[in-house]
Amino acid sequence: MVASAAVAALALGLSACGGDSDGDKGKDKGKDGGGKEGAATVQLPKLDGEKVSVSAVWGGSERKVFLKVLDEFEKRTGAEVSFVPAQDPIISFLESKVAGGQPPDVAMLPQVGAIEQAVANKWAKPVGAEAQKQLDKNYAKGWQDLGAVDGKQYGVYFKAANKSLIWYNTEVFDNAGVQEPKTWDEFMQTAQTVYDSGVTPLSVAGAEAWTLTDWFENVYLSQAGPEKYDQLAKHEIKWTDPTVKKALTTLGGLFGKKGFVAGNALQTEFPASVKQTFTGGDQPKAGMVFEGDMVSLAISETKAKVGTDAKVFPFPAVGDASPAVVGGDAAVALKDSKGAQALLTYFASPDAARIWAEAGGFVSPNKGLDLKAYPNDVQRGIADALIKAGDDIRFDMSDQAPQSFGGTPGKGEWKALQDFLKNPKNVAGTQRALEDAAAKAYKKS
């Protein structure tokens, strides 16, 4: 009880008190939400016989649920929706589609930069009046702005990612006798105690450097503040700035501590980093793993249950407040068709969000969505934190950067941070490498 009260007092309100009974309650609530599905909150036009195509990079379980969301749209409008699987980077995929004269009606773009590119290439069509009405009703200003270019609304953020979370194995924490930390110092202490208990505290997916950029962004946003964060994202301040040095030193203190990071992090891929945290009974290869809410999808591939075996706490506050780094997939219309606009309206409504929310592994930026729709307390807590962060959210910095700097394996920021993970003492060298790569990439774009 004490623990839950303390957690409730958290500004972010991430409640992680999910015993068995709570889990069951969560399920019942989910069913309730399902029952209300019939009560549509948005009116969609009749589109009998019309064909609408949607392109997204989702595969596996994500794709399956997304198809369910689209089925509901078909049922309501009578339109025929086809899913066009795309490859990463989706912008290149769309380029070939546009060049071939057959762009999909709507594309789900995973980065702010991709929306800007789509607008610059004159592919994207602005959001219509109906969809805009839904946006105004359901979305915080911060989220709307992320989908706008030069004051004009293009994107509807359908799926959000809260990238400021640390997941932990509850058994490891129990055995070590530690609580969820709230500040960086507490976090380091927790890690030390977990290490003393005979478990490596941290699993880092160093083979996929986007996790490393997220590490840096969380530390930086919390330590240097949102203004500096925005400046660095636009490369208005250099990577050799003292704030970067401070953030890297903080991060290096964690990565460089002997025994803190689970073996061979540079070859650990993201799914493996999660798996090794939640398999192996009370002796997993690591006790904690950092990343966004998509971790819960990877956990579902293990025997561990989110809410009982796996819990989550917000990224500890390095500076004054915990950071809220987000990502998200925005729906953007590429054709001026009625179907495309209707689909955007649908995506902006709570109805579409509810279907995926109930299936799990999904967080919606839609504040109109009843939190009861989420299948468990953990998901609900993540969503709640995201909605409460309101306009203070910051989009993933590397996703805002030019692709060659923030999104190419073996290059730019990705490479520099991997080298940093290999040698966490080399702060100055990492800064230099980052600045060199950034100078080149930002000049080109």
Partner: protein, 460 residues
């Protein structure tokens, strides 16, 4: 004995005799008709589809790539800028270097291995079955082979076969210790002594029980005979103490620097008494963690030698930056040694046995026969294999694309992968075309060599 020889001689004459009529043909007949008697226009008509295809699918793209390489990303003319970028970019320079390594190592090793297999399989009874097995990897697609080897080279010995073998061999010679990850907790009387050893901050006295608390040994690595840790009894004639894991599950440290009943001793952990840098006595702890040292240890510092904490050996970092290219070449050899073997075995079948017999009669041993007779006779076949593999290696893509994890992608870079990255990652068709041109120029000498050799073969 006779069949291969007969087959060889029977196969060669037609191949030699066919070119002759075409060569001498035009001299004998009129200028308007060719050997077969068809008119030139008809011949051209029949050639046209092939020429159009060749032009559209080979010549035009080559020309277009060459042209495109002088334009930038957006399509504006920029002279030799792309070539400048190409040779100043670190990634591309690594790619050129790696391509050179590939070009030297892969065909040579593959051919050597193929030669060994071919010669050996000829002599064993189940040669065909053996050949079949060696050849099998060839039928797997490069992509699938890449995925297989990604798993083979996995660093975790529980998942990667290569490391499982390596660690297995290593551990039979050097076993890991019982207390990996052991380390002093906060406020410990111990401190690091360099090289992974831990030593007491102060000298110990006889008659005052010593505590040597450590933390961090994973419970599943603790020796099976570990019992509840107990404080040592004081003995004025001896130095006594306890070595144990100062950590209670679920409670943290418990009573700091004092053994609780819920905490376990370190049975068998080695303790040394050190005076002026010399070991004066040493002992091992009992199952409840207590230990006793003789009187000489009085006034010495107690030390846990580093051998207690040796980490389990984790094998070789195959996919790490330094070994990644050799590792990928290894997987390439696995795939293509069978191909080399089959070609060489076919060549071997046509080697006249009399020569080998003659050499043996003259007193040559098997190595000399192989070195001085078989290999020189096989030289043309070996050249074909090496050149084919060279061309193949020059454009290697799939394996290098699939095997390396993100963190060693740039160390394993080769030109074909860089071409792909430039074209579809950076979406810079200019630089990509420049790389394509470079690749084309690199292939030309090998192609010329191949053509000359073929022409010579035809003339023979």
């Amino acid at each position: 004995m006779t069949t291969p020889a007969a087959g060889g001689t029977a196969a060669v004459p037609p191949a030699e005799s066919t070119p002759h009529p075409t060569k001498t043909g035009p001299h004998r007949t009129g200028p308007r008709r060719s050997v077969t008697g068809t008119r030139k226009t008809i011949a051209a008509l029949f050639l046209l589809p092939a020429l159009v295809l060749l032009g559209a699918l080979v010549l035009y793209p080559i020309g277009y790539s060459v042209g495109r390489s002088f334009f930038d990303k957006a399509g504006d003319f920029n002279g030799f800028d792309n070539y400048e970028t190409m040779f100043s970019d670190d990634g591309i320079r690594t790619a050129v270097k790696n391509n050179a390594i590939w070009l030297v190592a892969a065909p040579a090793l593959t051919t050597a291995l193929g030669l060994i297999f071919a010669v050996l399989t000829e002599r064993v009874r189940w040669g065909t079955a053996f050949k079949l097995i060696i050849f099998m990897p060839m039928v797997i697609s490069m992509l699938a082979a890449g995925i297989i080897f990604r798993l083979v080279y996995e660093s975790d010995p529980d998942r990667g076969v290569a490391n499982a073998l390596w660690v297995g061999v290593h551990d039979t010679f050097a076993e890991s210790s019982g207390f990996p990850q052991g380390h002093p907790g906060a406020r410990s009387p111990l401190q690091g002594a360099g090289g992974g050893a831990f030593i007491t901050k102060n000298p110990v006295r006889a008659g005052e029980p010593v505590v040597l608390p450590l933390t961090g040994v994973p419970p599943d690595r603790m020796p099976d005979d570990a019992e509840s840790a107990r404080p040592a009894r004081a003995d004025p004639a001896k130095v006594t103490g306890t070595a144990w894991q100062d950590f209670t599950r679920g409670k943290g440290r418990g009573q700091v620097n004092a053994p609780d009943a819920a905490e376990f001793g370190y049975p068998g952990i080695k303790i040394e008494a050190v005076k002026d840098g010399k070991v004066v006595a040493s002992t091992k702890a009992a199952s409840d963690g207590t230990f006793t040292l003789p009187k000489e240890a009085d006034g010495a510092q107690l030390r846990y030698p580093a051998s207690n904490f040796r980490e389990p050996y984790n094998g070789v970092d195959w996919l790490g930056p330094s070994l990644i290219t050799p590792a990928i070449i290894g997987s390439y050899i696995w795939m293509w040694a069978g191909f080399a073997m089959v070609l060489i075995a076919a060549g071997l079948a046509s080697v006249p046995r009399e020569l080998l017999e003659a050499a043996r009669v003259d007193g040559a041993n098997e190595w000399q026969v192989f070195r001085r007779v078989t290999v020189p006779l096989l030289a043309p076949v070996l050249a074909v294999v090496v050149v084919t593999l060279m061309i193949n290696v020059m454009k290697i893509f799939d394996l290098v694309f699939v095997i390396p994890p993100g963190s060693s992608k740039d160390e394993s870079n080769v030109l074909a992968v860089q071409l792909y990255n430039s074209a579809f990652g950076d979406r810079d068709a200019g630089v990509a075309s420049a790389i394509a041109v470079l690749l084309f120029l690199l292939v030309i000498p090998v192609m010329l060599f191949n053509m000359r050799r073929m022409r010579r073969e035809a003339q023979r």
